[in-house]
């Protein structure tokens, strides 16, 4: 299960602050939504279902962009290590 690191604060407008490094980030709407769903403890299937219900997107495209997005979160050190989905 993916887990956002404890020291990461996320505002409702998509502003992300890493208290450990002082780095800040911004998320777009879909990015924020995914991060919030991950924080709620949803796994990939759960996130996927929310998006399929709400957005004009097919499962294959969503998976592609989701995995790419999660890889970027890892690249930015925002996800707990070994957090394989």
């Amino acid at each position: 299960m993916l887990k956002i690191k404890n020291n990461i604060a996320i505002s409702d407008s998509g502003f992300v602050f890493d208290a450990r490094t002082g780095d800040s980030f911004t998320l777009n709407t879909t990015g924020l939504e995914i991060v919030q769903l991950i924080k709620e403890g949803k796994d990939y299937q759960g996130v996927l279902q929310v998006f399929l219900d709400k957005y004009e997107v097919d499962p294959e495209s969503f998976e592609r962009y989701y995995l790419d997005f999660v890889a970027t979160l890892k690249h930015m050190n925002l996800i707990e290590g070994n957090g394989e989905d």
Binding site: Y55, Y65, M76
Partner: protein
Amino acid sequence: MSKLTFERPIIQRVNAGLPSKYGIPRRLEPISHIDGSSIRSLLEEFGSPLFVLSEQTIRKTYREAYRAFSSRYPNVQFSWSYKTNYLNAVCNIFHQEGAWAEVVSGFEYHKALENGVPGELIIFNGPDKSIEDLKLAISNNSLIHIDHFDELYDIIHLSREMNERPKVAIRVNMDVGIYPIWDRFGFNYENGEAWDAINRVMASKTLDLIGLHTHIGTYILSTEAYRIAAGKLASLAVKLEKKYGLALKYIDMGGGFASKNTLRGAYYPGTDTAPSFDDFAEAITSGLMSSEIKPDHLPMLVLETGRALIDEAGYLAGTVLATKRLSDGRRATIIDAGVNLLFTSFWYDHDIRPVEIVSDQTEDTTLYGPLCMNIDVVRGNLMFPLLKKGDHYVIRRVGAYNNTQWLQFITFRPNVVMLDMKGKPHLIRRRESLETINSQEEIPDHLKNFNL
């Protein structure tokens, strides 16, 4: 309830620093239509990628340029620079507007003739004119601009052999404060070679010297350079009249006016820095009018500007093939047109826009073309909206040089359409096919078969 449009999820690092007081808005407004014609529909009908040329813009730009010069000088003639874009439909718009043809090779010369331009209204420039080309140009009374002494002597020989009086002009290069100096074409002004060439033409008694020509460079942002060039050509004209009593028919100031594209590495966008036609016209005409040339002998002013007349009218539209991340986390977007079609991306930071409406979100992106070649970079880095596979883009100001310098490399060259004055598309150059390429090839008998 209808579903929301899905945008790729992204996260971006906020780089705190001093904001630039020259901050340029990052939002790229989408361009969905050209002259009222939907880009998406054009791509569906004619395939992707697709060059789109606007007849409206070509005519509007030409008339603006002509007005700038003709309102300041009594006798102005434009001559369409074939090498800038020699698609016949494009050339013919300029010819309909009254422009002559300016060509730099036998191929372009024949193209102009086939388009119906009378031989005597073709200016023949360039360092490579074969004896056959010269013979044809002489018999057609074309205006031959002499590039070097070897060519000058060839023409003198031909004039005797053919018993004709070729109409010639001397091409002059000079120092106008632009560096590097373009001294490889024509005869130099400062070292006296241009004057020597003029004397040699006059001494031959078999050539009609009717003009002087210069082309000081390309994408010139300084109008002052043109004022200096006009003054130097005028001083040669005055010397010529004084010594031989000959009044020149024309002075040809060449081209090289900058378009509104932005050069790579330029701090300000070309839309802010490129002088207007009025600026260029003011410099050139004041250079001539304030010279010592007698007012009733003012020669015709010929202009061969290409880039500034056609760049704005050309668009390259296409489709996003893929997006991926690079090793350092930056985004890469791969589009279906690369440096093979967009030769000018080697020196311009082209203005690339989404076709469909996008959100305000942008990310630092490198735009790659589709070629399996590392050099195929259309834009090194730009803040670009979050386009996905299948989304469309359009690149502005690609009318100059791309339809002549494009490469048949790895893939075919695509369809080119022209939107007429009502915005209706006309196919003006067909997409190439395997047959187009293979029809030029021959395979020796012993290489026709193989067993694998």
